[in-house]
C-alpha cells in the first residue's frame, strides 16, 4: 500500500527521509512539469528548470506546509510563483501578445483529427493568465477556488480569465462549430 502524501511529508520533515522526498517528487512531477510547460510554452528546458526549483523550494518550505490546500495544489502555487519571478526577471512573455492572438488566423476546416492540433494551437494563443486558468481548471482538474489559491488571485479573476480565454477559444475555433 502506498503511503499518503501526508505520511511522506511527515517523514521528510521529521527525519529528512530522502526516499520519501523522492517518492513525493515522482508522484507529483508530472502535474508540476505539465503546469510549468503550460506556463513556459514551448521552452521545455525552462519548464523543467522551473519544476526543479519548485520541488527544491517545496523541500525547504515543507515544514511550513499546513495542509490548508492539497499538497499538489501547494506545489502548483510554488511553481506559479517561481514562474512569475522568472518572468519578472526576464521581462519577456513566452506567449504571444493576447491582442495579437485575438486577431490571429482562425483554423481552416480540416479533417477531424486536425481539431486536436487546432485546439492546442488556440490554447497557445491565449494570454499567459488565460492559459494558466484554463490549464488548471480543465487540464489539471482543479476547482475555481483551488486555481485561485494556486495563482494567488481573487476567485473573480480566475473566472474572468477563464471566461476571456474560452471566448477567445470560441472565436479561434469557430470554424469547428458553425453554431457559434
Amino acid at each position: 500500500m502506498t503511503p499518503p502524501d501526508s505520511e511522506l511529508i511527515v517523514r521528510v520533515v521529521d527525519s529528512d527521509d530522502r526516499a520519501a522526498s523522492g517518492e513525493l517528487v515522482t508522484r507529483h512531477q508530472s502535474a508540476v512539469r505539465n503546469f510549468t510547460r503550460n506556463l513556459a510554452g514551448s521552452d521545455a528546458a525552462l519548464a523543467d528548470d522551473l519544476a526543479q526549483e519548485t520541488f527544491i523550494q517545496a523541500y525547504r518550505s515543507l515544514s511550513r506546509f499546513r495542509g490548508e490546500s492539497t499538497f499538489p495544489t501547494w506545489l502548483l502555487g510554488i511553481a506559479h510563483n517561481r514562474w512569475r519571478n522568472a518572468r519578472r526577471q526576464q521581462r519577456e512573455h513566452v506567449s504571444l501578445d493576447p491582442d495579437e492572438s485575438a486577431h490571429a488566423t482562425v483554423p481552416s476546416p480540416a479533417p477531424a483529427a486536425d481539431l486536436r492540433h487546432d485546439l492546442a494551437d488556440a490554447l497557445r494563443r491565449l494570454s499567459p493568465d488565460e492559459q494558466a486558468a484554463v490549464h488548471l481548471c480543465y487540464q489539471q482538474g482543479l476547482s475555481h477556488s483551488e486555481a485561485a489559491a494556486v495563482l494567488d488571485w481573487p476567485l473573480g479573476t480566475v473566472k474572468t480569465n477563464l471566461a476571456r480565454g474560452k471566448e477567445k477559444l470560441r472565436q479561434l475555433l469557430a470554424v469547428w462549430n458553425p453554431q457559434t
Binding site: 530522502r18 515522482t26 526543479q52 520541488f55 525547504r60 477531424a112 474560452k166 469547428w176 462549430n177
Partner: protein, 133 residues
C-alpha cells in the same frame, strides 16, 4: 495522453467545454530522470556533520589566537613578527623532527589515514550524486 475522442460535436452541446474536458486530464509525463535530478540538487542531509566548516573555524580561531598571543603588548613592528615567525618555524622543525622516529611517523600516517577515511565516509553519505531511492 492525447484526447481519444476529440471530434466535432452536435450543436446542442457546448463544443468548447466538451473539447476542453476531453483534453483533460493532462498526459502523465514520464519521469526521465527528473526525480534523480531534483534529489541531486537538494541540500545535503541534515544529519551529516559539517566537518569542513569545523576545520575551517578551528583553524581560523587558532590562527587568530596565535597571532594575538605572540606579538601581544606592542605596536605592530617587524621585530615581534620576526620573533614570532622564528618561534613558529622552530616549533614546526621540532615537530617534523619527531617524524624521524618510526613510531611517530607510523602514528602520524595512521592519523592521516583515519581522518581521510572519516572524511570520505561523510562525503559519500552526503553526496548529492547518490540519491537515496
Amino acid at each position: 495522453m492525447e484526447p481519444a475522442n476529440l471530434t466535432p460535436l452536435p450543436p446542442d452541446r457546448d463544443p468548447l467545454e466538451a473539447w476542453l474536458s476531453a483534453k483533460a486530464p493532462v498526459a502523465p509525463l514520464p519521469d526521465e530522470g527528473f526525480t534523480a535530478r531534483v534529489l541531486a540538487a537538494l541540500p545535503p542531509p541534515q544529519g551529516s556533520f559539517p566537518w569542513h566548516r569545523l576545520l575551517l573555524y578551528t583553524t581560523g580561531t587558532l590562527s587568530g589566537l596565535a597571532v594575538a598571543w605572540w606579538p601581544a603588548g606592542g605596536a605592530p613592528n617587524p621585530v615581534p613578527i620576526s620573533n614570532w615567525w622564528s618561534g613558529v618555524s622552530t616549533q614546526i622543525v621540532t615537530t617534523v623532527s619527531l617524524l624521524g622516529d618510526p613510531w611517530w611517523s607510523l602514528a602520524f600516517a595512521g592519523a592521516i589515514v583515519a581522518a581521510a577515511v572519516v572524511f570520505a565516509v561523510r562525503v559519500t553519505q552526503a553526496s548529492p550524486f547518490e540519491p537515496d531511492f
